[in-house]
Amino acid sequence: MIIHCKNTLGDGTVIYKDYEVEDPVPVEDEPTTEADKAEAYDILMGVNE
């Protein structure tokens, strides 16, 4: 996805710039595999791998 931005500098200069960004990541659905569930649990518990 390309985001076309208008960047206005503090001195009044306007620069139009494009940013290529990753597609938005959807809110995670319920994990299905055991591996995903384990990872989700670690995330929830704030465990550092």
Binding site: H4, K6, G46
Partner: protein, 298 residues
């Protein structure tokens, strides 16, 4: 004066009831004398009942409950200022990344922390259903390491917190506020680094999935904030979000790019944390260096 006829049995019953009520308050069991001679009755015993209760300095008071007895609102006292790990953790234990809808706090709407918090720990409030209010101005650092592959720690993730002022926090790490879908405002004026794991998700970016976020300030004059490794705002695609970052001229472009990678519709304002130069122009501390607004996407 005419003689007064009194139902003695009834009078005894009334006096017993009063004495019982006094003993219930005091915890005593002895007979309580009725001072008839001095026209005082039980007045002395009543006056001796201590007023109020023990001042709570550490613990929890549930201040309201729903019809089924589950807490709706509660006051949390922690005179030490330390919120223990998982103190109000309300996530599933089975490995599902979602708020626990069967736990004790499942219907909670508000947790009020009555003492200034100085230390937060891993999962202190993870998945707590309701809003969380308190004085977090003395917290110096959010839990979690800064490792780009495995760093971070969930502290408020998936909770119902709506706003927070982290006046003293210097470093924010992955997962700290991941998926706080009610979070509207964050103020972290002394934050100098925000660490996000490589290839972040809404579940592990510092502010990943904070879809209600409206305003966030990172850094201030004298406190330039660096965005490290990846965007902290995965999934923050909402309009109406303003991200304000204080930085030096040298880090403007990288910070803007990283923020934009997640906050795809946000207004991004970068201000000078100190006297600095960008694109050939010198800016004083506090000046707006750049304002980025989205025109379109393709």
């Amino acid at each position: 004066m005419a003689d007064m006829i009194v139902d003695g049995a009834k009078l005894d019953a009334c006096l017993d009831a009063e004495a019982d009520a006094i003993r219930a308050k005091t915890g005593g069991s002895a007979d309580i004398p009725f001072d008839f001679a001095n026209n005082k009755g039980f007045a002395d015993a009543i006056a001796a009942i201590p007023s109020g209760g023990t001042t709570i300095t550490d613990g929890l008071i549930v201040t309201s409950r729903d019809a089924n007895g589950y807490p709706l609102t509660a006051d949390f006292y922690c005179v030490s200022g330390v919120v223990p790990p998982q103190a109000f953790f309300s996530g599933y234990a089975s490995g599902s990344y979602s708020i626990n809808t069967a736990g004790y706090w499942k219907n909670a709407t508000l947790l009020t922390i009555k003492n200034p918090v100085t230390v937060l720990n891993v999962s202190s409030f993870t998945a707590f259903h309701g809003d969380i209010t308190g004085d977090f101005s003395r917290v110096a650092q959010m839990p979690g390491t800064t490792d780009p592959y495995s760093g971070g720690a969930n502290v408020f993730g998936l909770s119902g917190i709506t706003e927070i002022s982290l006046d003293s926090v210097q470093i924010i790490t992955s997962s700290n506020f991941a998926s706080c879908q009610s979070l509207r405002s964050v103020y972290a004026p002394k934050c100098t680094e925000v660490y996000t794991r490589y290839n972040p998700t809404v579940g592990n970016a510092p502010f990943g999935g904070c879809t209600a976020l409206e305003e966030i300030q990172l850094g201030s004059i004298g406190y330039p904030c660096r965005i490290m490794y990846a965007t902290p705002f995965v999934g923050c695609t909402q309009t109406g979000l303003t991200v304000t970052l204080f930085a030096t001229g040298a880090s403007v472009d990288s910070a803007l790019s990283l923020i934009r990678n997640g906050a795809t519709n946000a207004t991004i304002i970068i201000k000078a944390s100190e006297a600095t130069t960008y694109n050939g122009t010198t800016y004083a501390a506090g000046d707006t260096i750049l304002t980025s607004e989205v025109e379109s996407t393709s």
